[in-house]
């Protein structure tokens, strides 16, 4: 059984929503992501991050994200996709999908 550990999130829910709203949808973060193995686009990822209704492919992607941070540098507007992915992981844990 997975043991829940406290996660150090430097962005809270409203801040993650703020980041998603500021995303310009260029897909650069997903282009460089080494953990992405499915055709997930940024609009789907943003929509599900905001709504909390997470589809199976996005849940798989969130689980496979290992927080390497490769998505941060290419963002043209300086957003932290790793924090958004961490938020998705937390949502999955809370909803019991993990």
């Amino acid at each position: 059984m997975l043991k829940l550990k406290p996660a150090h999130l430097h962005k809270t829910g409203p801040q993650v929503a703020q980041e998603v709203h500021a995303c310009i949808g260029c897909n650069e973060c997903l282009f460089v992501c080494p953990a992405l193995a499915e055709p997930i686009t940024i609009d789907v990822l943003n929509r599900e991050t905001l709504s909390g209704v997470i589809s199976t492919p996005v849940a798989r992607f969130a689980r496979s994200c290992y927080q390497c941070g490769a998505c941060v540098a290419p963002c043209p507007v300086g957003l932290h996709r790793d924090a958004m992915m961490m938020w998705l992981k937390v949502c999955l844990l809370r909803s019991g999908q993990e």
């Binding site: 430097h10 801040q15 980041e19 500021a22 043209p76 300086g78």
Partner: protein, 341 residues
């Protein structure tokens, strides 16, 4: 630095050059004619000459709508006229740093304002609960990342400016006390832009991270983790809970039903209507069921509107066409009209 970056990306830049004509037919462009009588061939013309808010609608509104360099709105994008909202480049929001109302003709502000206005109009106040905070703009020109948070250019009093110019990068910090009030960054990498906005919005101390912000190697995750650790240690050692965050927007206000509103509008208030309780200079109370944040303008726009000036006098505008009546508290705390005094 910006021009060099654009040139490196392969673009030609003509300075001190104006377009005086566009050559082509309807639907297709051949080129533009400049003031030096040169013709530059092109397929597309984009006009980027800044924006000026169009306030014609506000000027011709039957009910006076407050406007000055844009239509004045509160944090929920409500204008001074009930049930009319303004969003985008025409909406003049209150700058939390200066207190003045100014427009934000930026893409991010337009998105947020559209969402906030739509949420407020449809009664989804929980979606409109995020304060706008200071202005924020991030973009990329060629290989150059640009970020502006707050107003790093126009701080002169009580703020000191720190700059750092390295190879291909420039950073400028405006700091008042220990708090960051403005940040400008140009360089090959983009800093954690919204984390810097959060630092300015929440007025957090940057005493320990000035150098990192100047050099561009600011680690937001480490900084906020440390902030949380400090807050937790303070809580444990002092035994006191941290103070409430006053930057949060107050709870959304409830609106009356449309039927009630129609009745209230049909009957203007009588002079014998009960006076509102005194709540202090500068605060405003609306006699109609809606409350709103006071705008920094003389209150003469909406009917049934109470406000207090800095002397504690109360002004009631009973109807847009009627003359304003002044009330002031006497020694017994009772309101008296100007004529009675």
């Amino acid at each position: 630095m910006v021009l060099d970056s654009i040139r490196r990306a392969g673009a030609k830049i003509y300075t001190d050059t104006h377009v005086i004509g566009i050559v082509g037919r309807v639907g297709s462009v051949v080129g533009v004619v400049t003031n030096h009588n040169h013709m530059l061939l092109c397929d597309l013309v984009l006009a980027c000459t800044g924006t000026t808010p169009v306030t014609v609608l506000a000027e011709h509104c039957n009910i006076p709508m407050l406007h000055k360099n844009g239509i004045l709105v509160d944090d929920q994008l409500r204008t001074s006229v009930r049930d009319i909202y303004a969003a985008g480049a025409v909406a003049a929001l209150k700058n939390p740093q200066t207190g003045t109302h100014e427009t934000r003709p930026l893409w991010n502000a337009a998105i947020l304002q559209g969402q906030t206005a739509a949420a407020a109009m449809t009664g989804r106040y929980e979606l409109a609960a995020q304060p706008f905070g200071v202005s924020w703009h991030a973009t990329q020109l060629g290989e150059l990342c640009m970020l502006t948070v707050g107003n790093p250019q126009h701080w002169t009093e009580n703020a000191k400016t720190l700059t750092n110019s390295n190879k291909g990068s420039y950073r400028r910090l405006s700091i008042a006390g220990d708090c960051l009030v403005g940040y400008l960054s140009l360089g090959p990498t983009q800093p954690d832009s919204l984390a810097i906005k959060r630092i300015i919005d929440e007025g957090l101390s940057v005493r320990d991270v000035k150098e990192a912000l100047l050099k561009g190697d600011f680690d937001a995750r480490k900084y906020f983790s440390r902030q949380q650790s400090r807050a937790a240690i303070d809580m444990v050692t002092s035994g006191k809970l941290p103070a409430a965050n006053l930057t949060q927007r107050p709870a959304p206000l409830s609106y009356p039903s449309p039927a009630t509103h129609a009745i209230l509008n049909a009957y203007p208030p009588r002079s014998t209507d009960a006076l509102p309780p005194f709540i202090g200079a500068g605060d405003a109370i609306e006699m109609s069921p809606r409350q709103t944040e006071p705008l920094n303008e003389p209150i003469a726009a909406s009917r049934n509107f109470w406000s207090y000036n800095d002397k504690g006098s109360a002004l009631i505008q009973r109807h847009p066409s009627s003359q304003a009546l002044w009330f002031q508290r006497d020694r017994n705390g009772q309101f008296v009209t100007q004529e009675e005094r």
